[in-house]
Structures are given as structure tokens and as C-alpha cells.
Symmetry: C2
Subunit: 254 residues, 2 copies
Amino acid sequence: MAADLSSARSPVRPVELDRTSPVPLYFQVASRLQELIEQGEIGVGARIENEVDLAERLGVSRPTTRRAIQYLVERGMLVRKRGVGTQVVHPKVRRPVELSSLYDDLVSADRRPRTEVLDLRVAPAPDAVAEALALAPGSEVTWIERLRYAGDEPLALMHNAIPVDLIRLEAADLAAYGLYELLRRAGFVPRIATQVIGARSATTAEARTLHEKRGASLLTMTRTAWDAGGRALEYGSHLYRASRYSFELNLSAG
Amino acid sequence: MAADLSSARSPVRPVELDRTSPVPLYFQVASRLQELIEQGEIGVGARIENEVDLAERLGVSRPTTRRAIQYLVERGMLVRKRGVGTQVVHPKVRRPVELSSLYDDLVSADRRPRTEVLDLRVAPAPDAVAEALALAPGSEVTWIERLRYAGDEPLALMHNAIPVDLIRLEAADLAAYGLYELLRRAGFVPRIATQVIGARSATTAEARTLHEKRGASLLTMTRTAWDAGGRALEYGSHLYRASRYSFELNLSAG
DNA sequence: GTCAATACTTTGTCATGACAAACTGAAAAA
DNA sequence: TTTTTCAGTTTGTCATGACAAAGTATTGAC
């Protein structure tokens, strides 16, 4: 039994790599490995074949194999040790913290998101917001206030500021789609963000809006997002009902 | 002026690469680039020299240059575009979410952490904890309850469970060092973790311990951490004073 | 003047080869 | 028996060379 485990090298069946495909070879290899691990054919703790042999068997170069393995290492499925080998540490992809909006999250969790646009106006940005977005003080921003429902329950009260020259937002669009979706459609893809997560008690008005008791605990999240060109896309200051929502993170260290 | 910006290629002074150093070449190159960007010698928005020229000028191969650039791309400083070039998007390193303990954070923020060990015992793990740590139900764990101060103010009430066969913990050590530091010294390096951040109101007892009013908002964080071998190291369930603490995250998307 | 085709630049992918460093385990020495 | 040494395994680093794909800028046709 014990001997079995130590010899549990990858029982990979012949892999069909498609060299005519636009999908890079390293990605094809990574996908195949990921599949085997997710299906449990290579168990947690088992070592996979070494890079050199794997490369030879698949008919690709070692750098290509390395890149495929690296891809899965970055996702937290594999761990490498020099002189030892590469081991499976987790059967599922541990995604890094996602850069997605609440709307996207709810859609994928099938929680029937609905959005009510409470306010939509163009106004000068307060100093703190202008600084967060790296705009000149007093620059105009589109200011949005939305109430997000999951099913029939209010879940979050969201305030956003978007540089006014970036996109023209309509209440109808905001009610139908997430802000990030609208930004993406306009060609602005959020790539980098900083978030601060905290908590505080609800004011009377906030409690009423969110169907909570006065003084109930709320999760606060402020975020600034930039696109690949370093352009500030969005500043957000959101309130979540702590009784209905929490943030889940997967971390991995070098 | 505008012409100046577009021609603002990296004014890199001759870089001294040390080929005898144990520090990898790609890392030396990355460090040098990072320095130039942090010091503003390559401004945000400016394009850096293309890979081929940079490699030639530094006297290294293109893969080495690419790896250096890739390193900074992953840290959110640079963005690459095929056919265009590589651009500076942020002058500071945007670290991914750190896998460090509160103690380490406070030390680096120079906030004089102090720890009071309220409880330290060996007991069977509750089912939820055993499951989080992937232990058999009822397995013994070392159970710790600590109160963490920053300066003279209590900041967090921390509960941890550590598999009992992993490390022998002493109250004196826990008072002097962070848990992660002790784990690392024993050879267990946390590599992967999942966290859930939420909020709730303080109970009377919690409020008293943390010098808060009854019902004050607290940030909750539960975390399970694993080492590179997939061994569960630690389960933690912590309470932070929302009035004194928040979580800061830097995210980047593919 | 406007639009389309073309040339050029720059990053992306892949192969081959070589040596170094870290770890493991077995053999040899104390 | 215990420790040290050494050989073998495996990942880490680096070089060179080649072609592909995407984006930009220029040129030419209309």
C-alpha cells in the first residue's frame, strides 16, 4: 500500500496535443493536467512525472512543460521542490482573489441579482475621491448610488464614482447589468484594484434601506480599479449586510 | 512636451549585473527596473525599452529579460501589449494579498504588538474545525486564545487550532512571537490559505475584552492555512475591532 | 481626403542544449 | 549505531535561435 502511493506516478493516458490549434501548447498541457487532478486521477500528495520525462512523453520541449506546470503552481494546485519533484497539493483550482463585481458574483452563484438605481448624476468629485482616481481636484465624475438585491432581499448599498469622460451611463443599463460589465463593453477592462474591507454599524437611514435594525453590523468595502493602461476606472464605496454577505479569499505565498 | 513623453524610453544607466552572485540574473534585472520605476525615473504611462534591445544592452538573453519583466507584470507595476510594448502602470509594487499573520503586519507597521495568552490547551477539535483542517473527527488540536494589542489598545481576539502532532506550543513563545513565526521556525511554512471575512456585533463578553461598547461592530476572519505539502497547519477564527482595523487587498486580474 | 493594403515593431510561443543548486537515499567511515 | 560522504534525481537558471500574432504607422489607390 505504502509502496503504491510512492510509486503513484501520473497514469496519464496518451494526450492529444493539437499543434494546429491557436491554443498554446503549454496551455493544452496545463489543461490536461488540471483535468487529471480535478478528476482525482492524480491524488493529493502524489508526485507527478518529472519535467524531463513528461516533456519527452508528450513530445514537447521542457520549457513548454515547465510553463504548463508553472501555470498550475500559480493557481495553487501544484507545488514544486527542487531535487524532489512536483506534488499535488489541492485538487481544485484555488483562484486568486477575483477582480469581479458583486453582480458577476451573484450571477455565478445563481442568486438572482436585481439592481435599483437610487441616484445617477454628474457632479464634482470630493477631494478624497478625486485623489483615489488620480483626477484633478474638483473634476467631474458620474456619481451612482445603487441598491443591490439578491432574490428579494436587499444585500448591498453601493456608491460609485466614474470619471465623466470615460463612459456615458444610463439608469436602465445599470439596472440590467453590473457596472463592470458596462465598463468592459465600453472597452475598459479592470485589471488592478486596491480594496479596503472594514466594518461599522448602520445609521438609521442605512438600516432602513437595507432592511436591517439600527446599529446592525455592516461590511464596508472601498475599491479603486484601474485598467491595463493605468487609467483609473472606478471608485466605489459599498455597504454590505454582514448578516448576508462575506468576502472569501484564497491566498498563496511565493 | 507630448513628444517628450512618447519618446520617454528608459534612461537606464549602465546596470551592473553580478554573474557570480547567487541572486538570479532575472531577479537582478527586475530589481533594477523596479528601483527605476519606484524612484520615478520611468514615469507612469511611459514605455520601457523593448525586450530585445534591453536584453542586448544588459548583455543577457531575451528569456532572462522576459522573466524579469514578467515578474514585475505579476506584481502589477508593468503591463505588456503584443505589438505595442511594455508600459508602467503603477509606481509601487502592488503586492498580492499577503499570507502573513497579524503580528507580522503590526511589526512592519511599527505598532508595538503585544500578545496576551488567555488560554492554551489540548482538546478534541469540534467537527467544523476538524473538517477545516482535514483531520479525523475528534482529533486532538492545540487550542489557543490570544488577545493582541497594538500599543496599549486591544486590537484583536484570536482563536486558533493547530494539529497537536505538529508543534509543541508554549505560552511564553506565543507571547513573544507570532504564531506564523513559530510555525516557520518549526519548519512549517504556510503557503496557501483560504479566508472568509465578515462582520458581526460584539457580545457583552467580547466587548469587555476588546474595550468596545456592547454591540459594537467587529470584523471576523476565519482562515485555514496549508503548507507546501498540503498539510493543514492552522485554523483560526479571529475578531478585530472594526474601529481600529481593516483589511487591505491588492488584486490583479489575468 | 478617406480607406485599404502593406511594412514594421514588439511581444508571444516553442525548441534545444547546458550547467547549477537542492534534496534524497545509500554507502562508507567513525 | 551514528555520522559523513557521495552519487543520483529533479527543479532552477540561462543562452541561442526561430517563427507567429497583434498592434501601429505608413503608403498607395480611389
